[in-house]
């Protein structure tokens, strides 16, 4: 019995060791991948890479890369590109799509069209700060209540109660509120 277990362990150990590089490569501190799409290669879809990507072929879709993206040697990308480090559009490269990058290099001769977002600016900054959206919820709650009116008479009174009082988040504590060890769970009761 013991030998059998030992044999099993010893036989799986090398196999596990062989497999480890693959998961380690996905980790941030592991070897990062570097993908090259040659002139005759073509990708249609979304590509996420932890590492660098070099496009000399055609990409139709989105590129999201933790390293840098280089588009050159006739490379063409149609779609959004996100690079945590750098995007280079070489002199024979073409990129049509919105771009979110830390660094951007466009060489003379390159084709590039799209929206560029660099730095800490968040997309769509002009939007004013909205107050917590509590208005549409009562309306939403009322609709089914109204529908239920002919069926049950007592229900409409009960229904708005849990909706009206916003449930306090677990992290939030109001010192003025009486703190009971077990807060009444109305929703659970109703159900």
């Amino acid at each position: 019995m013991a030998t059998f277990e030992w044999e099993t362990l010893s036989s799986t150990a090398p196999a596990a060791r062989n497999r480890t590089p693959a998961p380690a490569g996905n980790g941030s501190d592991g070897a990062q991948s570097s993908i090259v799409l040659g002139p005759r290669d073509r990708l249609v879809g979304q590509l996420y890479v932890e590492g660098d990507v070099r496009v000399a072929g055609t990409v139709e879709g989105g590129l999201e890369v933790t390293g840098s993206v280089e588009i050159d040697d006739g490379g063409r990308v149609t779609g959004p590109v996100t690079a945590q480090d750098r995007l280079v559009v070489g002199r024979s490269g073409s990129l049509v799509g919105d771009v979110r990058v830390a660094r951007l290099v466009v060489q003379d001769g390159a084709t590039f069209s799209g929206k560029v977002s660099m730095g800490k600016q968040v997309e769509a900054p002009p939007k004013p700060v909205e107050p917590p959206v509590a208005v549409p919820e009562p309306v939403k709650a009322e609709a089914p209540v109204k529908a239920e009116v002919p069926a049950t008479v007592a229900e409409p009174v009960k229904a708005p109660v849990p909706v009206k009082t916003p449930q306090p988040l677990k992290g939030q504590r109001n010192p003025q509120q009486f703190q009971s060890p077990k807060p009444p769970d109305r929703k659970g009761k109703r159900r």
């Binding site: 750098r86 660094r103 951007l104 290099v105 466009v106 060489q107 003379d108 001769g109 390159a110 084709t111 590039f112 069209s113 799209g114 929206k115 560029v116 977002s117 660099m118 730095g119 600016q121």
Partner: protein, 138 residues
């Protein structure tokens, strides 16, 4: 005619005839210094060098360059534009736009050729192609 209704706030822009407005090989040049400032609309036949602080609208038949350290909140239309400082506003370039390594540009761009050096910062839409405009093309 609101042509050249630029408001000069410092001496050297005011004396552009003497210092700033120089001719180089037949091409006129409007040159601002680092302490100059300009607010308003400038329509100029020739090249313009923007330094210091500029605000408004620049329509230039030649080349326009924004010096390093300059702050410009302007909309630009020019044949070629080189940015080494900060620009906020739309940029229409008939030929080529170059963003230097310290350039900061936020605004929409219409351009035929584009060159961005590493280190430059850009926020806005980029559209490559010819500018739709009447009159002097190319």
């Amino acid at each position: 005619m609101d042509v050249q209704e630029a408001v000069a706030e410092s001496t050297s822009v005011a004396s552009a005839e003497d210092n700033g407005d120089a001719r180089r090989g037949g091409q006129r040049k409007f040159t601002m210094g680092p302490n100059d400032s300009l607010e308003g609309k400038l329509v100029y036949e020739g090249d313009v060098h923007v330094d210091g602080r500029a605000e408004g609208e620049f329509k230039v038949s030649g080349n326009l360059d924004v010096a390093q350290g300059a702050t410009a909140r302007i909309s630009i239309e020019a044949a070629n534009v080189t940015v080494k400082g900060q620009v906020e506003g739309s940029v229409n370039v008939h030929d080529k736009l170059t963003l230097g390594k310290n350039a900061k540009l936020s605004g929409d761009i219409v351009v035929r050729r584009l060159q961005i050096e590493d280190g430059a910062s850009l926020n806005g839409h980029v559209r490559m192609g010819d500018i739709e405009q009447h009159g002097s093309g190319g």
